[in-house]
Amino acid sequence: MEEFASLLDALVYTTSRNRKLALIAAYLRSSPDPDRGWAMAALTGGLDFPAVKSSTIRILMMERVDPVLWALSRDFVGDTAETASLLWPEPEDAAPQPALSLAEVVDRLAALTRATAPKELPALLSRMDAKGRYALIKLATGGMRVGVSARLAKTAFAIAFEVPVEEVEEYWHALAAPYPELFQWAAEGGDPPNLAGVPRFRPFMLAHPLEDGVVDLADYAAEWKWDGIRVQLVRAGGETRVYSRSGDDISATFPELLDLLPIDAVLDGELLVRGVTQGGEAGGAASFNALQQRLGRKTVSKPMLRDYPAFVRLYDVLLLDGTDWRERPWKSRRATLEGLMPRLPESHFDLSQLVEAPDFAALSAIRDTARDEAIEGLMLKHRDSPYVAGRRVGHWFKWKRDPLLIDCVVMYAQRGSGKRSSFYSDYTFGCWDGDPDAGAELLPVGKAYSGFTDAELKKLDKFVRQNTLNRFGPVREVKRELVFEVAFDSVHASKRHKSGLAMRFPRIHRIRWDKPAHEADRVESLRALVKD
């Protein structure tokens, strides 16, 4: 437990991704089984102890600390777990007890009930120091909040034992904490886990951006790039699961997709909701904004299912009826998928159609004219490409349509993090709410922190420092002088911003040192681009 508590503490204070990876990898290499497996479960959000809630901790504290002192402390610290870890009265005459391992702590927490927790938890807390108590309470109440995603933890695992992260992903979702088979294979050189009959995730094949290149359409097939979320549908052993791009099991969010596959399969496609903006009026899909209503929910209400019905637009097949098609060329997989389509219900599945063009120039023209909302651009897939995990050059390209552009005025700048912590590198910009020469004001419309070179960043940083009007902690308000040409993929109505608009993927396209601020665009120009 001591080592795990130290790891959490170190992660809390580390902002660099590489240092986080190194910390987790070092812990995984040096810690015994099954402790390290439980640590992975904790870092990937895979532990749940329903008997312990934040209120359980608060009640325990109230019995031990004056309520006024507790409230003042909690207000100052801002976190119940941390306040409790600092205020827990350490027993003065405690006979030294053997240290608990993480696995022992997990076992004890798992055995707790609502009735036993108020008695058993204090005994555990009294055996630890403040750092240990913090880790224990975070573990028990869930949500580590140490800035580590599940993907980062798995990447650290792969680094620690020098195994491919795609393989880790492939086994991960089919195994349960503390993942003994995974450590047996990766750390001890044992056989890979046997996962026949388990509906498990396979890592996605990803695409490279097509910068200025040209491809031969004899070699490449084109498809629309849909603006939904990438999903993998897996049926095995009589069960179907839906996985997100990160490999998270999102089956509970889309229950309408779970009983539809007639045979065992692993299918790749875009999850969309019904609407008219993507791919035609009948049987089309709505914009990404509509899909967002469905994302991130653990349970789905009937009105949600009715108003935002989900379906999958399929574009690849990895496994079908016991056959692994991943080594086969794309054209064979495509034919297999087309053969499967009649067996799938039209209500929830369709096929991502190919975009036919006589040559690349003609295709380019099609891409430019199709400003259909939410079709992000084109995908180009080599007709002989196997299905390989990750991003392999030359197989798949994404050819995004040209971004939308608008001129905005910089309003606020914030310091970045990590290497950029001494630079003002995050910018909030706005457009005019009327005629700037007639007293119009700027309304913030977005925020961006990319799209410029290191040399430009230095210049921007200098501009911010020399043109500061006000300081609010790490944020500076600057004179309304500098214009950014901002590129973005689309813009949507949003209640979150005063302007009522939210951009997707805004980035700084050009810095217009030459352009006077009053010549920047107005909010109404941006609003005209909304297509919800």
Partner: protein, 344 residues
């Protein structure tokens, strides 16, 4: 016969000794001031006459030219030194005695006696050992006027050896970069350096320019700090690998730090006890080192001094008031302006 203790009055800008018309740690210029220590929220320039320990006066001369003469040889702001343990008679029959407070070099509590009544004003203080200054002395009194910077029970400062150990460990673990320690330029910086020396670290310690004069002043007062050099004199970025650099907290994320090889950012402060405080400042290596009393020291000191009444000058006075109420001690909070030591 005047009402008890009517001769001492807390006002928003300081504590007024009425019969002498002298102020303690006033936050605006006054004709005569008693100053507990050299930190800017207690020691201000511009008083007609400042009465303080010789070390505090030296710090004030450095910062405000207190006691220095101008071109014509006139001393505008007079400095009157008082040694620890020495008692001086003030007008109106008030005696003032300077007693070590253990906060920083020259820091003093001031014992005021008048008509048989005893009042101690602590200024800032701590009870933990510190090689750079004389230790706090418990002084019995009727009214104890204490600070409460860390007046919340979450604040307990660990033994400094543990924190210095973390710093040396981080340095040893990262030979390809340097550790940049944010530390308040008066007191904290010199204490961290002295404790590093005591722990056997004899390499050059690199300084931000703002630290230089105060470190020299400490050495002139007998606090040995070893080999110190300015970062601006470093031959190259690479030469800083494996080094410990000490800078004021404001420089940690400033452009100044770009000259260092991707440093690990440490900060020596009592606030580092709270994770959110460290994260807000981008601190990767929090060192819980404070020159103020922590919660246990505050409550222990009140118990040991055992005054009839406790007045609390600044900090998180609400919680300390609550503790006094729970332990049946008379206490009140003084609403003094201008005291707060964010960087400690």
């Amino acid at each position: 016969m005047a009402a008890p203790f009517s001769w001492i009055r807390p006002e928003p800008w300081g504590i007024h000794i009425v019969p002498a018309d002298i102020w303690v740690d006033p936050s605006r210029p006054v004709p005569r001031a008693l100053v507990t220590h050299g930190h800017a929220d207690h020691a201000r320039g511009g008083h007609g006459e400042t009465i303080a320990t010789p070390a505090t006066l030296a710090i004030m001369e450095l910062r405000y030219r207190t006691g220095a003469s101008d071109d014509s040889g006139t001393v505008l702001h007079k400095a009157v030194p008082v040694e620890y343990g020495e008692t001086i008679r003030l007008p109106g029959g008030v005696d003032a005695t300077y007693i070590p407070a253990g906060h920083v070099l020259g820091s003093a509590q001031i014992l005021l006696e008048h008509a048989g009544e005893r009042v101690v004003i602590t200024g800032d203080y701590k009870r933990a050992p510190d090689p750079t200054c004389a230790p706090f002395e418990v002084t019995p009194c009727d009214i104890f006027i204490t600070e409460a910077t860390f007046g919340l029970p979450v604040f307990t400062h660990p033994p400094i050896g543990e924190e210095i150990g973390k710093l040396l460990e981080a340095r040893a673990d990262n030979p390809d970069t340097c550790v940049l320690v944010g530390a308040y330029a008066l007191g904290k910086a010199q204490r961290v350096i002295a404790e590093l020396r005591a722990a056997g670290h004899s390499d050059t310690i690199w300084l931000h320019g703002a630290m230089e004069a105060m470190c020299r002043l400490y050495e002139e007062h007998g606090v040995a700090l070893g080999d110190l050099r300015l970062v601006t004199d470093a031959p190259s970025k690479e030469a800083m690998c494996g080094a410990i650099v000490v800078a004021p907290p404001s420089a940690l994320n400033d452009r100044w730090s770009r000259r260092l090889p991707d440093p690990i950012t440490a900060m020596a402060s009592g606030w580092m006890r709270v994770r959110a405080r460290a994260r807000q400042r981008g601190v990767e290596l929090p060192l819980v080192i404070s020159d103020h009393a922590d919660w246990n020291e505050l409550t222990r000191t009140i118990k040991e001094v055992n005054p009839a009444e406790t007045w609390i000058t600044h900090g998180r006075e609400e919680a300390l008031l609550r503790w006094c109420a729970l332990s049946q001690r008379r206490a009140r909070a003084l609403a003094l302006v201008g005291y707060e030591d964010e960087d400690d």
